[in-house]
């Protein structure tokens, strides 16, 4: 019994130091993240503090319910991104998300170019949201308006995917750093890297 006391104290001390080290790393990461994102053109995830009820952390279950880890389900097959983009029914595939999914993989037989996002659907959606945030701020963006459709071309300053299709494959799939987004108001019609 007596022997266990020093061990427990030692473990408690280790735990305390480990916790402090972890807290320091989290603090450094949180402080440096915006600068890294800006410098590298990345979109690193934010560290969110857990809410507490009494002394127990409360897990935010809404995050688990997000579609592709990002989109809020508004019902009636409408999904809202954090930047304010709506993905709704429509298009040849039946839903804009299904069309977007085509741009998460190459289509080597497609004539011309076919932009492919890195990171599957979660990566594509994060990149599109980042591009839309930049577009709204007017950063590295060209904007055309045509009969109610808005076409943004946004330079994200770093790789967001590659150019596939017949042309892209002939050129060994060059890197894409720009994103083209076609919108009807805030509804996404299509988006692809280029």
């Amino acid at each position: 019994m007596d022997k266990s006391v020093p061990n427990r104290r030692s473990k408690t001390a280790q735990t305390t130091w480990g916790g402090l080290a972890l807290a320091a790393l989290v603090a450094i990461y949180s402080f440096a993240r915006p600068a890294i994102d800006q410098q590298m053109g990345w979109n690193l995830p934010a560290v969110k503090p857990a809410a507490l009820v009494g002394d127990k952390p409360v897990v935010d279950t809404r995050e688990r319910e997000l579609v592709h880890g990002l989109l809020r389900d508004l019902g009636n097959e409408r999904y809202l991104s954090p930047a304010g983009l709506l993905f709704t029914r429509g298009g040849a595939e039946g839903h804009r998300l299904d069309h977007l999914e085509r741009h998460t993989r190459d289509d080597p037989t497609r004539p011309g170019k076919h932009g492919v996002f890195d990171g599957g659907m979660p990566g594509a959606l994060k990149t599109i949201d980042r591009a839309y945030d930049r577009a709204k701020a007017g950063e590295r963006t060209t904007k055309e308006i045509d009969q109610g459709r808005t076409i943004y071309t946004v330079d994200l300053g770093g790789r967001v995917g590659y150019v596939g299709g017949r042309v892209g494959n002939r050129q060994s799939k060059p890197m894409a750093r720009r994103v083209r987004i076609v919108l009807d108001k805030d509804r996404v019609i299509t988006a692809y890297p280029m």
Binding site: Q147, R149, R187, Y192
Partner: protein, 106 residues
């Protein structure tokens, strides 16, 4: 890819990477009519000429501007060679933009 056009007349002059594919609509009513639709931005031309006026369908309930049936419904499809022949639009097809499978290249 069932949602890609079989025969196209151009790359989309509006969005760039889209294919302006030929669709045939109104098949069940026996009054078939042709459309050119961009498979990315959904711009529509009523004749096989992308320098002509274009229009856009409703974003959530896209309909054919000619017959008001659902643009992507059972009434219409990406036109086959025979469909294009029936429409009299064969001359507008740019063969380099045809969707081909690997077998077609052999």
């Amino acid at each position: 890819m069932p949602s890609s056009p079989k025969h196209s007349i151009n790359h989309c002059p509006i969005c760039g990477d889209g294919l302006c594919g030929i669709r045939i609509c109104g098949m069940r009513d026996d009054v078939p009519h042709g459309l050119v639709v961009c498979d990315e931005c959904e711009a529509i031309w009523l004749q096989p000429d992308t320098t002509a006026e274009h229009q856009y369908p409703d974003a959530e309930e896209p309909r054919c501007p000619t017959c008001q049936r659902p643009l992507w419904g059972a009434e219409s499809r990406w036109a086959t060679w025979d469909d294009c022949s029936e429409l009299g639009w064969l001359d507008a097809i740019v063969p380099q933009l045809d969707i081909r499978t690997d077998e077609d290249w052999v």
